[in-house]
Symmetry: C2
Subunit: 432 residues, 2 copies
């Protein structure tokens, strides 16, 4: 007796399932990938119904479509858990200024940085915002990303923050990539509040957060059970620990799950504060020391490391992701794609950097952009691994060994991207 | 009166010509790109006949095919002037060993490194060598590379070195990318000569070099006026300065133009020796000091910098390419694509690394992978810039500002690749 299904991918040289017990993987478990040689994935109605040996699944299922994946790798679609992909304009001028020697903080102090993207985003019509962001999502999709967290934070005023949320929803509806919205109204102090930041914090708490929640409740995300996160940038020049705590505590009061940008340039105490408030993820951690690392490892938070920013700023001090894993923390990796500190759409390159400069093993890096990244955005139960019942988001990759995803760098090994059981990207360069 | 031509690309937001006086660009001239706004390129019989303002060329030429490049950048096809792209197998195991702490030199001393690729390459049938290398050239082409220097050096015995040359010729014939062959028989000391390296040097001089020259004279390269270079790896654990000088001097005696791997890990004096012998390029220079840099700047040699190796080894000390340019040297950049120290096909990523870690301006990085790279492989008169009379090798890029080629990293901005006037790659991912 065979069961009739929509799609069977079979004969893959290697399948990386990233399966395992529920909850984030920790410590040495980050090396476990659930490899299957000569494997198959059975898909029906957009969901995975079985993963296992090819000959077994070919006996058990009768598929309307088959894909022979001989010599290929099949792995979960990548999940990018921390992005600022929705913005207008670019910051290529600042890029040249930095080469000439200006620091990120100097550029920020001179009215550049986030505030410059804020002006461009405030001035952009909704359709321009969607169009410019869409081309970035296209690049990300080609590179294997199937789920993307996307933050506001270039509006920094009620109407523009809501317009960014609308753009995130419009992109989620129009693009094969699934988006997960995060309100980051506390991303920077808007210039009109330059000398009274507390008043902006008050505005975020009293108006922007409640309005965002109201927007969310009527949105496609609430309908689909996709969370709205609240986030804050706790850093010198942005929001201090007291201000950051006020924003996150207010968001928690409203029932929103939390994220926080902490310990990027300065260890202000934001990490400890965010963990205390039960943040789902704590992001950056570039300057976290052993005490902070131990606290993350004892928490349920996912540690989201962002090697692209160090790379982009020409830095040599990377977050101690090795130390985090060794201490037992669950680490995720992200592009942080944004116009200033990380104009990078590629999770394969992020893996490559992490393996070289943070000493992650290729297996750890792969778990960090799949399963752990899914848990970092509250979707660990539906994406990030190849298991029966999960969404059929998966990649066919031009190699029979997952380690090549991180060993090679700068190219694109992804051949086919499947989202909810449908091919949404297939490489097909023309060579006449 | 209009002239009839094959192809007119017009209405480009920006054209980067990289034109200028003959000879390599030096010092501040590396910042000059010859930009044309709203530009056009006229192509006939595989060659450029004119580059200039769009309205002017549209009046002067009647083209059988037209490509409207509104909003796009047109620049020369990239030239990768130092590669080991022809090999069999991979070294992904060593990649994991290095993450666990082994150094490149330790792996080399333990029989890994180049010698491991030598075994794989010696054992590979000619068609396997071509097939595996071809897929790498496909990745390079998608990323905008249209001309590639390719070295032997995984044979390390007469027959296998000649088989590598044959593979280079076969790839040149079969693939849209043009290849330029380099004999690097003195890449490593083959294990059978472990305790008597001088005998291998003698073999290279007495047999391999003359046989390679004989092969070359009957090859498609000689017929096309494409040079055969001779190269040597002058480094502790490879060939010392005396041995390296013997190889290069013998090659020069045979009339071959010279290259040399020098100052990569150790400044042995190879740089000075190679300049004295009139090398066309001196490659690596990671540990060259001010005296060496000044000598390069006073020479006619192109300085080929290889930031991928530093990146791949997780290093933080990059070659002083900024110092080289400031001293007046002509710098080129390369992927060095090879299975051990740089499994990287992407010149856009090389530019991105060089801008961030070597402080090259985007304009300098772009000249370094076009015009200067062409001069580094003896083809400065036919590729590397958009000028009347040159080969019509050019790229359409998804941006109106060349700086985006280096500002963004990890993605692929190249939309269309044109080689000798014909479209050889056009991005066309399927989004059903």
């Amino acid at each position: 007796m065979t069961t009739s299904i929509d799609l069977l991918l079979h004969s893959a040289a290697q399948i990386v399932t990233c399966d395992g017990p529920p909850g984030p993987k920790r410590g040495v478990a980050m090396r476990e990938l659930g490899l299957i040689a000569n494997g198959a994935v059975a898909v029906d109605q957009g969901r995975i119904v079985a993963v296992g040996p090819s000959d077994e699944l070919r006996r058990s299922y009768q598929a309307r479509h088959e894909i022979a994946a001989a010599g290929k790798l099949i792995c979960p679609g990548f999940v990018d858990p921390h992005t600022h992909v929705v913005y207008a304009g670019d910051r290529v001028n600042e890029f040249e200024q930095r080469i000439a020697g200006a620091t990120y903080q100097e550029i920020m102090a001179a009215g550049g940085g986030i505030v410059s993207s804020m002006h461009a985003t405030r001035n952009a019509a909704a359709d321009q915002l969607v169009r410019e962001s869409r081309s970035r999502l296209d690049q990300m999709l080609m590179l294997g990303t199937t789920t993307v967290e996307a933050k506001t934070g270039y509006g920094l005023e009620l109407a523009a923050e809501l317009r960014q949320l609308e753009a995130i929803a419009a992109l989620d509806a129009a693009h094969p990539i699934d988006l997960v919205p995060t309100l980051l109204a506390a991303h920077a102090i808007p210039p009109e509040f330059a000398n009274h930041a507390d008043d902006y914090v008050e505005l975020v708490i009293a108006e922007i957060l409640p309005a965002a929640l109201e927007w969310y409740r009527a949105s496609r995300f609430a309908a689909a059970g996709v969370p709205l996160f609240a986030d804050v940038f706790c850093e010198r020049g942005a929001f201090d620990v007291v201000q950051s705590r006020r924003v996150l505590a207010a968001a928690r009061e409203l029932g929103l799950p939390l994220k926080a940008h902490v310990d990027e340039f300065t260890a202000l105490g934001g990490l400890e504060m965010a963990l205390e408030l039960g943040a789902v993820s704590v992001d950056h951690l570039d300057v976290s020391g052993p005490a902070g690392i131990a606290q993350v490892a004892q928490s349920d938070a996912i540690a989201v490391s962002i090697p692209t920013v160090t790379f982009n700023l020409g830095g040599t001090h990377y977050a101690d992701a090795r130390g985090l894993i060794d201490a037992g923390a669950a680490v995720a990796l992200t592009t942080d794609i944004n116009p200033g500190s990380a104009p990078c759409p590629s999770l394969p390159l992020v893996m490559a950097i992490a393996c070289r400069y943070q000493r992650l093993l290729p297996a750890e890096a792969l778990n960090a952009v799949t399963r752990n990244a899914a848990y970092a955005i509250g979707l660990g139960d539906r994406v990030g691994s190849l298991e029966a019942g999960k969404q059929a988001d998966l990649l066919l990759v031009d190699t029979g060994d997952y380690r090549h995803l991180a060993y090679e760098f700068g190219g694109n090994p992804v051949e086919t991207v499947i989202k909810r059981g449908a091919i949404v990207y297939a490489r097909s360069g023309r060579h006449p």
